[in-house]
Amino acid sequence: MIRKLGEKEGKPLPISEASFPAPFDAGLEYAAPARGTWNIAHTGMLVPEAHEIFVCAQGCLRGVVLTAAEMGASERFSTVAVRENNVLDGDLENLLVEGVTDILEKLPSLPPAVLVYTSCVHHFMGTDLTLAYGELGRRFPSVRFTDCYMNPIMRKSGLTPDQLMRRQLYSLLDPKEHDPKTVLSVGGDFAVEEGDFTALLRENGFRHSEIQQAKTFSEYLELARAAFALTTQPAAIPAGKMLAEKHGMKHLHLPFSFDADEIEAQYEKLCAALGIPVPDWSQNRAECEAAMREAKRVIGDVPVVIDYTAFSRPLSLARLLLKHGFRVKRIYADSFTGEEKEDFEALKHEAPQLMIWPTVHPSMRVMPRDGDPRTLAVGQKAAYFTSSPHFVNVVENGGLWGFDAVIRTAELMTEAFLEEKDTRGLIGIKGWGCGLCQ
């Protein structure tokens, strides 16, 4: 087996010795029992009134069936089981068409849209999905079908299932005349929290829209009126690109960050695109500083550990905290996105002893999880690996962006320090914040 230069065995290592973007060698993988991040079944449910149909092998169906059941959405979820005979007979197109037809005929009423999820098996069998979706469209002209994918075998080639899912969320939209004063936030699991971003839009006469606001399928279709598509995390970029290509929206990718200069630069880019004046952010910057100072005053010198599931920029957060005197000891991450490159290189010099820990390496299964009981963990996996009841329970940026992300994170860390949480109970919940999941 060939190993890339710089890759290390699964032992924790100081960032000064780590390679970018994947510090550890790839091999067998372990899954820690932290379940807060959303899966494709959770995300698909963001399309209001849509019905999900998964066409997969039984073992693959199990996780998403129970995802839907646990979120109380079984009425919007059905399955078609792919069996050995279908693989041997090569009748996957027929199974897909007849299976989906059978389900739709059994529903109390036809949904406006159906998200059909095919699997690795379809990919490897070369299933003619165009033919299948064409036939379904003929049989159910009032239903909009879209192709979604549960094919994790593709996670390292081309678009990942996560990226595809976030893109397909918007695939049911028809092009509409744009409202030049509407900005669409794209590809996040959570509604954007009210803060400096939404205030900026409002004060300049812009409307903010996002899929989480749509309560009906008709409202969902109105998302196409936005003139601007805004993404803030890498997994959403293909969605933004699709909206630009198919709907003519102007796509802006403004990466989530904890760095005030970077946030301000993102705002400059946004303001330039919207044609509005750049505000004076000095007050916001001062508030961020004050929030960080106050959090440090309360939290003191307890060890801080951060994982990649809480925020898409764990290294950006680590730099911010280290600059404010926090004792950041560990980052739990198996790889980093390209957006973290600058922070990674900077931390090599600013905090060379900051330890990078893997989360999926087999050794993590037996690694002692009895660290300093006061440890403040940011993220569910960090909480699990340190057995800490003091943790920030956020996944996938939690709807935060801009200067408010800094202020809110400081508040959440303070709350986590002051109040213990039921770590085991909370991190086991699938799809944290997905409405009915908690």
């Binding site: 087996m1 073992g59 996780g63 089981a81 050794s363």
Partner: protein, 386 residues
């Protein structure tokens, strides 16, 4: 065309790959699911209630498209060997998923390679994610029976009763609420000596001594494979049934004594085929409950097996129905349906529904409501007026 593979609303049983991992979980080995992603989180979220508290070694291979296309088994073998050398498991088990089935991975050969390089006993299972956990668990326990059980020197060992093994105890059928200990206590109170529990509550060393039993009790479908291997290798007869309810348990114990004496295998527990009270679930446990309810209440009760079912059971009259379309006609005239709560939407509105949560179907959702039918059968009957 009638499509029999759809589920408009009901759940799906745990898959065969999870069955392998579940059956072997407590035995000190390392199970690797040859899968890209997804099997691990599904298994440890919905199929494995012991995951948080026990550091059993269960991993995925993180198979990629390129490795599958190129048939790169060496990547799998190398990664498993490396992890096995570091973690030193008692054995290695490799379980397949849909894509390895399609690319024709030879799991027996992969296991042989791993064993040759590490010296650690290794198994390969051609699971494909398209069958239920019963198939996988049964195959896994059969492999343990084939490979590890040996004739022991029992000289000087005094048994307090008829020595028996309990085969097919997995959390997917019995959860983790104490049914394994309850079953052991019940048998020992009735003149048996429980040598081992496959595979909940016993170590691999205890399982290795199973050849000393006079008879095996198969308490779920997961135990069928091991029962047949132990019969083949050591001539140990088996009786199929879960000891629920006083009268049915007594029937089973009587048959266990008879089988221990004459060496014949026996399958009992089939409910009456025209009964209007129906139990849906895993074949052996559902048939046993149906029979127990019939005996205790006098109301005829039948069972429907909704998982992979051994031909011995189906031949004895336990119908198998997996899909909604297959189940519907069997429930059409039912007055009472006893099943996991996630079956409720397809039960006719004219029938009374009695919830009986089943870890293998609804996972952790109703775990706190799962009754221990070994100890609390009468309480269950009373609660639901059965």
């Amino acid at each position: 065309m009638s499509v029999k593979q759809t589920a408009r609303i009901i759940s799906t049983y745990a898959g065969d790959t999870s069955g392998v991992a579940s059956a072997l979980f407590e035995l000190g080995g390392m199970t690797v699911m040859h899968d890209a992603s997804g099997c691990n989180s599904t298994y440890n979220t919905h199929d494995e209630p012991r995951w948080y508290d026990h550091d059993s070694l269960v991993f995925i291979s993180a198979l990629t498209e390129v490795e599958a296309m190129l048939g790169d088994d060496e990547k799998l073998i190398g990664d498993v060997v490396k992890a096995a050398r570091e973690l030193k498991p008692a054995f290695v088990a490799i379980a397949g998923t849909p894509i390895p089935m399609m690319t024709g991975v030879d799991f027996a050969a992969v296991a042989r390679q791993i064993e040759d390089r590490t010296g650690i006993p290794s198994f390969g299972f051609d699971t494909n994610g398209m069958r239920s956990y019963v198939w996988g668990a049964s195959a896994a326990l059969a492999a343990v029976a084939e490979r590890f059980v040996t004739v022991q020197d029992n000289q000087g060992t005094v048994q307090k009763g008829i020595p028996v093994n309990l085969l097919g105890l997995t959390p997917l059928d019995f959860s983790v609420l104490g049914a394994d200990a309850a079953m052991k206590d019940l048998l020992e109170a009735n003149g048996f000596s429980v040598l081992s529990r496959w595979a909940m509550g016993s170590s691999l060393d205890e399982l290795k001594k199973s050849a000393s039993a006079a008879v095996n009790l198969v308490v779920s479908g997961a135990g069928m494979g091991a029962a047949k291997v132990l019969k083949e290798r050591f001539g140990t007869p088996y009786v199929v049934g879960t000891p629920v309810g006083d009268r049915y348990a007594e029937e089973l114990f009587s048959l266990l004594r008879k089988s221990a004496d004459d060496g014949e295998c026996r399958v009992i527990g089939i409910g009456e085929s025209d009964a209007r009270r129906v139990v849906i679930g895993e074949g052996v446990t559902a048939c046993s409950l149906a029979r127990a309810l019939t005996l205790e209440s006098g109301v005829p009760t039948r069972a429907v097996s909704a998982t992979d079912t051994d031909p011995l059971l189906t031949a004895s009259g336990c119908p198998m129905a997996v899909d909604e379309d297959d189940l519907a006609p069997l429930l059409k005239n039912a007055e009472t349906v006893i099943a996991d709560p996630l079956y409720r939407p397809i039960v006719p509105k004219t029938a009374r529904f009695v919830p009986l949560p089943h870890e293998g179907f609804s996972g952790r959702m109703f775990r706190r409501d799962i009754p221990d039918l070994i100890r609390d059968f009468n309480k269950f009957r009373k609660e639901f007026d059965l």
